[in-house]
Assembly symmetry: C2
Homo-oligomer: 436 residues x 2
């Protein structure tokens, strides 16, 4: 099965664990059976591969998420990078062209497009496989997944099927209704629209060529910035007569807010925390190295990361977005393709950072105009290149790099460094990449 996972999101709703470069799907929140922490991304990837060991997974995403995807999944997935953000229709067209031109997927093959962040049971992925088979059989141009509603939600779009059968033609689509209207839809057998689309690749490419002017993947990539922002639902689904829907009645959760996110946690605590016996319905996620003590907390979510600390009533937590937008906050922690960095200390004219390089990875070869840097190696071994000269590095080694000096370091074993940046104007923009 060919699966395209749509990975977007700004991550403000799950602040401080998510931020502008770390969306919710990358937060390691769930324990797998081995007790290791999984993110939504790695969880969904594992579930797909368990359902279909031969599945080919492509992640359609923006440039700024590539590093963290590589960090979490390495080269196990294809990554189709949107040069700019343009809603779901252009993104799915680009992914379709990528599958055809770069991966050699045939026009008769089925493709299943799915959000990257559903919190679902394994049976969901069996349903995706069935959807792929339905698409390949060609009974309809589009095959959708309809989630059996568990309550009259105002948050989702509804699919009204033509019949109550497990697989049915779609009668109509309805936008997010109010609760009373949702009740009426559900009484008529309506399903939540889970944002899953399956089709033959050739079908989608034809629709793409009808609506957009391009020759192939590379051409579409080049023109991408000029494309109109338009959703797949609006451009394709609502224009299509030949649509069928498959009912899914397994567990399905949209973990978009702290309130729903905490419901999916394995226990009440992730990280170092103690809750006394008078706490009720309180969840703590602590990414810091210091303990959190909660006493007499009721219906609270407490989350702490290098970016900040949230203490919120669970109901209230859904109103977080404007408050996070007001906080102009430097990124304090980020996962990169080569490892991660954590800002440890911020001074007026210096910044102290912990850098962790994964074995076999290195930084870009780069220089800065306006700051000096000093590396102190804490652990691991590797090789640094300083103005063209290579040297090995080991714990206790110190490397001073004045402004203008070209430098990089590669990890042989996991390499941990303290980097002290010194200068009057320390910015992420002050960075020149060089060929090594």
């Amino acid at each position: 099965m060919n699966v395209v996972l749509l990975s977007g999101g700004s991550g403000q709703r799950l602040w401080p664990l998510s931020n502008s470069i770390r969306s919710k799907q990358f937060i390691k929140m769930f324990s797998n059976e081995e007790g290791e922490l999984e993110s939504m991304l790695t969880r969904v990837y594992r579930q797909i591969m368990e359902a279909d060991p031969g599945a080919s997974v492509t992640i359609a995403t923006s440039r700024k998420q590539v590093s963290v995807i590589k960090n979490q999944l390495g080269d196990k997935v294809h990554v189709c990078v949107e040069p700019k953000r343009r809603d779901t229709f252009p993104a799915i067209c680009l992914a379709a062209a990528y599958l055809h031109d770069r991966q050699g997927v045939g026009e008769d093959s089925a493709v299943v497009v799915c959000p990257v962040d559903p919190y679902v049971e394994d049976s969901y992925f069996q349903a995706l496989k069935e959807l792929a088979r339905m698409a390949e059989a060609g009974d309809a141009n589009l095959s959708l997944l309809g989630i059996e509603p568990t309550y009259a939600s105002e948050k989702y779009g509804y699919i009204i099927p033509a019949s109550p059968d497990r697989v049915s033609r779609v009668s109509t689509f309805q936008e997010k209704p109010d609760a009373a209207t949702a009740e009426q839809y559900i009484a008529r057998g309506a399903l939540w629209n889970g944002g899953v689309f399956a089709f033959r690749l050739g079908y989608l490419l034809r629709r793409a060529h009808e609506l957009l002017s391009f020759t192939d993947y590379q051409d579409l990539y080049t023109r991408y910035g000029d494309l109109e922002k338009i959703s797949f639902d609006y451009a394709v689904v609502e224009q299509e007569k030949e649509i069928q829907v498959l009912r899914y009645n397994g567990g399905w959760k949209d973990l978009g807010t702290w309130n729903t996110f905490t419901e999916a946690m394995a226990g009440n605590v992730l990280g170092r925390a103690v809750l006394n016996e008078t706490c009720e319905n309180t969840h703590v996620v602590n990414e810091l190295n210091v303990p959190i003590l909660c006493m007499g907390c009721k219906n609270l979510v407490v989350a702490a990361s290098s970016d900040g600390i949230l203490v919120s009533d669970k109901e209230q937590s859904s109103y977080i977005k404007p408050f996070v937008e007001q906080m102009e906050q430097q990124i304090m922690y980020a996962e990169k393709s080569w490892g991660s960095f954590t800002v440890l200390d911020v001074q007026e004219e210096s910044l102290t950072i912990k850098i962790v390089l994964l074995p076999g990875h290195g930084l870009h070869y780069h220089s800065h105009d306006l700051r000096d840097e000093v590396w102190t190696v804490m652990s691991g071994t590797g090789r640094a290149v300083i103005d063209g000269a290579e040297r090995t590095v080991k714990p206790g080694d110190v490397i001073s790099m004045p402004a203008g000096c070209r430098h990089t370091v590669f990890a042989d074993s996991e390499l941990k460094l303290i980097e002290v940046q010194l200068g009057k104007d320390i910015t992420v923009e002050d960075k020149h990449k060089h060929e090594l």
Copy 2:
């Protein structure tokens, strides 16, 4: 006026702002009229000096508090150090001998002994002056301060005066009663025992020599570890017939728990924090550099420091002690006589620390057996001495100190360093001091 401030306390009740080396009296929690932050210690010292610019203040304390007292008050106060912890009677005897032998205070001079942490109005210090005059006049051997009760507290001892006059002989003392008994005491005109004692120095020295075997201050200091733990109330006050009490009816608060401490805060927030409009009766104290966001919090105290994070219902916060005792936590921040240190990062075989040296101050000249250290200078200027060789230091300078190397650094202007410690066994015990 000679004032002896008794400074003790383990600081568990105000965790994470206080810890085993940082008691509540050292937390900078209050704004003075200039908008600068004050601790209880610096606030009480300021209030004493405003009431009596000629006052001589001696702080009776344990060895581990000396650094932070010097950090906050420099050489403006005398510090009488107890070699071990031995309750209030030995501590007050040692302070009395110190005043007599080291400060040359005469036996007819009055001494006022007072806790370091009352949160009080300026009128309290006028009362202390009056108490000193009463003691010097010699109408009684002991002069106490009685606080007019504002409710039937079970937390305080009670003084029953012989008359309702402003100054009265004491009829009896009563231990902490239950609320009903407290009501009866108050109906009889009882006062809270504020822990303030005034006496002529000669009186106290006579009582000390009667009860303890010693010649002078130095002798008492040497024998101190062998003394019995006994309170001043038990050893002196309860044996004395000639006691008078002065009524004080100004503001007086015992800020021993988060619940009472937050009542004394100037506003709801100290440090970086945002409370949304649905928060009620919630106080935040944030010593970290990242923001705290509170939403829909009711009756909570939120406190964050390098040592940890507390989120507690205010009522519940008084039960904090056993939870803090369970947390075996490395000290992450400490004020020292020379400045402060903050632990930034802890790895298995390395520790990264930020060191701030105050101008004119330096570290002890020392070495470590089991760890290497690297300093990177972030800001300021000074002089380092490494194995006897002096060199100047400026921002960007790096100094590597292998195990065994003797080293120190002095600040000419405020000096900020990053220190990376490297080794398998990094402990505070691995430190040898040397003569420079």
